[in-house]
Symmetry: C2
Subunit: 197 residues, 2 copies
């Protein structure tokens, strides 16, 4: 009806993003049309750049432009601890706490039999290859979900026999939340993990 297949096509492309519905995708496509030509070309170039210039760090598998990411290349980081996360965005979240000074390892996913994702599709062997004797502790920082738990358990079973300490992030009440709204499991875990004041 609209003779505007390039627009439809663009909306289809945007609709692929998680959290972007059909209406949002159409809105984004129209937004591209109302951009200046330079702005639109800049956006297209940014996509191409990200895909061509970035690749995975040889050690931690985070995205980087060089062979090693700045964290893996840094001499200031504690090389005896590796924090295992699901995705690169989790590294950013942990770095924002300024509390952790070790290295990271990105799995690029979680074990999820429902979605047909097994351990062989994650960066597990890259992690095992890093456990060369320098590493004294591996922290499982996957999400407290079924998949996150299953992945942490699976990895712990592989790593513990190597004589390396394997830890898990603490469960408990989110800071600033109201106890009243905490679900039973969280409250149970918070009680279980209580510490002396």
């Amino acid at each position: 009806m609209h003779n505007a297949e390039p627009l439809e096509n663009l909306a289809d492309q945007f609709a692929r993003f998680p959290g972007v519905g059909r209406k949002g995708a159409v809105r984004m496509a129209y937004e591209v049309m109302s951009m200046s030509n330079e702005q639109a070309m800049e956006l297209a170039r940014a996509i191409q750049d990200a895909k061509t210039k970035l690749h995975r760090c040889r050690l931690c598998q985070d995205y980087t432009t060089s062979e090693l990411c700045p964290i893996c290349a840094s001499q200031k980081r504690d090389r005896t601890v590796i924090c295992v996360v699901e995705a690169p965005r989790d590294i950013k979240a942990i770095e924002r706490t300024h509390e952790y000074n070790g290295l990271y390892h990105v799995l690029h996913g979680l074990i999820s039999p429902m979605d047909g994702i097994g351990a062989d599709q994650l960066c597990v062997k890259e992690l095992l290859a890093r456990l060369d004797g320098t590493v004294k502790e591996v922290i499982m920082a996957t999400s407290p979900t079924v998949e996150g738990e299953a992945t942490a358990m699976y990895l712990a079973k592989l790593i513990k026999p190597l004589g390396i300490k394997t830890t898990r992030l603490a469960y408990g009440l989110p800071v600033g939340s109201s106890l009243e709204y905490a679900d039973e499991t969280t409250l149970y875990r918070a009680m279980e993990g209580r510490g002396e004041m």
Copy 2:
């Protein structure tokens, strides 16, 4: 910290879209990274295609790949009525009702002194150029907002003196809504515009 400027840059680009916050933009950038190379290049190409292949219809100013959009080019549409809308997406919304068979005109914006947008930045002269004697009615289908009203009023003042009937979409209760939740102004307008059963 992350040595991933191409990723930051891409997130900046996505953050430009209305309704996409910083977190959403970062998520989208990571999503691009997890796409296959072909998928990412397809997305970049879709953006370039939309901007290069589409332009405004010579008459109604909607986006199209040809000189005239299919609606303006159609012999089946009633050429005596023009429905004035803010944006191309509004045409789609009205077409979905299958109730209107006239032509359209896209203003590409609304008068908004607060944002410094005056009538000269909208496609107003293109509309006036179309009022050549064939057109008997102009329907103002801008949104029932302050800017939509102001724009409709402004255009009506220009068009009425030409002896052309100028109408406005009806105000009233949205179908399927609960009267209880209707705001006073809507209810007042619904009462005012009541029709015989």
